[in-house]
Assembly symmetry: C2
Homo-oligomer: 240 residues x 2
């Protein structure tokens, strides 16, 4: 794929329905992009992709580099990222980031954005999950057992996407970011409500994505039999 | 693109919002597929793509071959079609086709289908539209002035897609087919309620599509400023 196109495997609605037993090798996902996020089989942890490397963030907040050949993901979104806008700025929380992104991309509300932030953070509130207790357990239930970690005075990288309103059900509408420390040892899914606060200026890179390439699971009975009803409230809930 | 991937330019929600002043050259659409449907600038007519050729069906039901280099579409969906299933069967109406497709593709409700039918039809109820009266006029208003044509004892080709429920807003959920006569001189959008009836067996070709490639308009102020709210009821209405 070209730069700044969004590749996605499966649907957030499928995770909501608990479709997570199978997936695609992460090596195949990385063919389509070098920055992004996702999860793992049975929703066992948060995935972040940075510089073409995929990391698994476990329920205790620890991160491990994964072997892309032998590890499978039931949901992932990545882009071959090339920033079209860079800023050095202090940002407080998701609201602050939203404001900054709107000022950089005033005409992009109906497009996707990819965002990467590198630098020092005063505080980051993030969560991870330990996975399904049984096949087909839905994401709301999995996330009801999430563990929250607060990182303070930490350097690292935030990566993720802003998706337009009409993408609800395909992906998460609005901001969705994962975090990993500079040493790539800890991280998580950034909680929208409490978010993060930078320690002075950080490096913010972003790009508008206007091509969306969705690959659906095939030969996957869980996916084929799922109802995939739109669960907008549920999706919002698991992002908080 | 490979065979049996769905390429789409813009969103049905954008048409609902009246985003139809600009678009992409049809030549660019045809690079991605040889079978499909769409519309034209200002929603001036129904588009059908058959065997890599695009036709414009005007409000009076007449069809003209369009020059893909000089003609622009604000919304189109095509696939490089290679049937994975073929049947010779008599089909009565959209319900009959739905039943047949479900029997051929029992596990495809969460995937897209491309369908082509060739043969003799006892009757086809179709419509076309004369386009917007002003920029940003929405599709519900455009279609409120649709003209309906009933073709009887006619040979021709039906082409279109079945989209899964979660695609509502991106495209039309369920069946969406356009028709053109064998001599490529007349046609229209097949009305879901009254539909069509074959005259004995026709040739039905279909394929499951599990990759969806969405290209959003860029440098298009109409698209960028549209609200693109989900208008599920409106979309159903304009398909009837």
């Amino acid at each position: 794929m070209a730069f700044n196109e969004l590749y996605q495997y499966s649907l957030i609605s499928a995770l909501m329905d608990g479709v997570a037993s199978h997936g695609t090798p992460i090596a195949r996902v990385l063919e389509h992009g070098d920055l992004g996020l996702g999860t793992f089989r049975c929703m066992d942890g948060e995935m972040i992709v940075v510089d073409g490397e995929a990391y698994q963030i476990k329920a205790d907040g620890s991160a491990v580099h994964v072997d892309p050949e032998t590890t499978v993901t039931p949901f992932a979104a990545v882009t071959r990222f090339r920033a079209t806008a860079t800023r050095k700025a202090a940002v407080s929380g998701m609201a602050g980031l939203e404001e900054l992104l709107n000022s950089i991309f005033p005409k992009s509300r109906n497009h996707f954005l990819a965002v990467r932030m590198d630098g020092a953070f005063k505080k980051i509130n993030s969560r991870s999950v330990a996975g399904q207790l049984k096949p087909r357990e839905g994401m709301v239930d999995v996330c009801s057992r999430q563990t929250i970690k607060t990182f303070e005075a930490v350097k690292g990288t935030i990566a993720g996407f802003r998706c337009p309103a009409y993408a609800m059900g395909l992906n998460v509408v609005g901001d969705h970011f994962h975090f990993i420390t500079e040493d790539r040892q800890r991280g998580g899914h950034i909680l929208l409500a409490s978010g993060f606060e930078t320690d002075g200026d950080v490096e913010i890179e972003a790009a508008q994505l206007s091509k969306f390439y969705l690959e659906l699971p095939t030969e996957d009975d869980e996916f084929d039999s799922a109802t995939l009803k739109l669960q907008a409230q549920g999706i919002k809930k698991v992002m908080e």
